[in-house]
């Protein structure tokens, strides 16, 4: 039993020990979509001069999208594959997000291309998260599965997400990936600047 008043912070994405009522799988994924949307919202409010902030937020977006894809692909999709036939489309949409994320990393954070890629990133995310999952897949899963299954699945997803977020190896891996993805793009941009 909890004692005293519980102060609810509005920092949603922190993995603090706040005791919350059990979340169902679809709620949990829906909330994580919110986290991704929040990062992009913050990114779109940054100015071109604030390169550091843009880079830091892009890094955060990269990690969160990668982790989101991972928990869905490893836990959620295999669990619903028996009754949801259109999973291949969802897999393909993840691939589109990965490619768009790479395009965003390649773009120079101080340029107009970055803003264009960010707009596209939002479109790509909404095509998957909203049009496919939130409007079609999630309601169907909620209709077909009972509360206990959904809550148990939600716990598994949350548990895995927490573990991924605190994994040092994964963080290092993401950093390396970002470095490699930015590498050639930055090199090309620099060469072009020197040429002009």
């Amino acid at each position: 039993m909890k004692k005293g008043t519980q102060v609810l912070t509005d920092r949603k994405k922190q993995t603090t020990e706040v005791i919350t009522p059990p979340k169902t799988a679809t709620q949990m994924l829906y909330e994580h979509h919110g986290v991704l949307r929040g990062i992009m919202e913050r990114l779109s409010r940054t100015s071109r001069d604030d390169i550091e902030q843009r880079r830091a937020l892009t890094d955060e977006l990269y990690s969160e999208v990668q982790m989101h894809e991972r928990i869905e692909e490893h836990i959620f999709y295999p669990a619903i594959s028996d009754f949801h036939p259109k999973l291949d489309a969802a897999w393909s949409e993840h691939r589109q997000m990965t490619d768009q994320l790479a395009a965003l990393l390649r773009a120079d954070p101080g340029g107009a291309r970055f803003e264009e890629e960010l707009r596209l990133m939002r479109d790509v995310l909404e095509a998957h998260a909203h049009l496919d999952e939130e409007l079609e897949m999630f309601p169907e899963v909620e209709r077909l599965m009972d509360e206990a299954w959904l809550v148990e699945m939600g716990e598994r997803l949350q548990d895995r997400l927490d573990r991924l977020r605190s994994s040092r190896t994964l963080r290092a891996r993401h950093r390396l990936e970002r470095m490699m993805l930015r590498g050639p793009g930055r090199l090309i941009a620099r060469t072009m600047r020197r040429g002009s």
Partner: protein
């Protein structure tokens, strides 16, 4: 009998769900390589899928290794039992044929992998096995070439004999990908509509309901049509992607083209032409105009080289009734 055995094999492979995980791991890895080296960008994709060619590039390239390795097999057989000097000529020729096949197979591997990453379920599993068999065969033929170069022709012939049946079976599976699963074929529903509906302008939506930059799906005579307003102009294309039938209305706009949400094929809004693949065929085109505040569409008949005066040409030239002066203006 052999035919049934091969078909059973194909069905068996299609049912192997455990192949999905290694398949996705391979795709993730290849996606990363493509993104690091910029291979996922438009010109490279266009080249590898064969959009410039008007036909998937991979099936065309596979003829090079299959033909060359068949030639090597023939040369090996002909050279056997000949005198020493004559045999040397055959051996040299066979080595060249094997080498050319290896080069062609590398090209087929890259284009095949690029096509394969954008396939779904059954075709995906079949494609993975097809690729794996070919990779083993490529290894055997590379070994064969190496041994032949070091004048160890016996081993070279053995490696080629081991590789050839693999290539043959794998070629059959590759045929299954095309003829059973229609990978690389035009799968757009609107293209399948031979009646070319709607023939006359049909109202589909109020003009003020179509917002700039937000694609929408409408139906006209039972045909799904994609409507997009870009820079104020209204464009209409077939709504399902010619590649695997993805819903284009759920896609997004990139540099003047609509992008399929499933595999990223981009189609020019004006012409419907595919920009980068995996879709090769263009998206079917529709004409759009605004009348009395409503958007009306009709199918643009495909331009074919029909002889002048034929029924098809007349149909294209026929004025839209009721005859009104120039019906080109598409602006709201």
């Amino acid at each position: 009998m052999a035919q049934h055995a091969l078909e059973r094999l194909m069905r068996k492979i299609e049912g192997q769900e455990w192949l999905d995980r290694p398949g996705h791991t391979l795709e993730h890895g290849y996606a990363f390589v493509q993104n690091v080296f910029g291979l996922s960008q438009r010109p490279v994709r266009r080249f590898l899928h064969g959009v410039w060619f008007g036909h998937p590039l991979h099936p065309a390239l596979t003829d090079v290794p299959i033909g060359s390795w068949t030639t090597a097999l023939v040369l090996d057989t002909m050279g056997a039992g000949k005198g020493r000097r004559e045999r040397e000529g055959y051996q040299r020729a066979a080595r060249r044929a094997v080498g050319l096949g290896v080069v062609g197979a590398l090209g087929a591997a890259v284009t095949g992998l690029t096509d394969w990453q954008y396939t779904h379920d059954y075709a995906r599993r079949l494609g993975l096995v097809h690729g794996a068999l070919n990779a083993v065969a490529l290894g055997l033929y590379t070994w064969s070439w190496w041994e032949r170069r070091r004048e160890r022709h016996g081993r070279g012939r053995l490696a080629a004999m081991l590789g050839y049946p693999l290539v043959a079976v794998s070629g059959y599976l590759g045929g299954g990908l095309t003829f059973r699963h229609l990978v690389g074929a035009d799968q757009s529903e609107q293209e399948a509509d031979r009646l070319l509906q709607p023939r006359d302008f049909t109202p589909v939506l109020r003009a003020n309901e179509l917002q700039e930059g937000t694609p929408r799906r409408v139906e006209a005579c039972g045909v799904g049509v994609l409507l997009v307003r870009s820079n104020g102009q209204i464009h209409a294309l077939g709504e399902t992607c010619p590649h695997l039938g993805g819903p284009l209305s759920q896609g997004w706009l990139r540099d003047g083209s609509i992008v399929c949400p499933w595999h990223g094929s981009a189609f020019d809004l004006e012409t419907g032409e595919s920009q980068n693949g995996p879709a090769i065929a263009p998206a079917p085109r529709f004409q759009a105009r605004v009348r009395d505040g409503r958007i009306e569409v009709r199918r643009v008949p495909p331009v074919v080289s029909a002889p002048p005066g034929s029924a098809l040409t007349r149909q294209q030239e026929m004025p839209v009734q009721p005859p009104r002066p120039r019906q080109r203006e598409m602006q709201p």
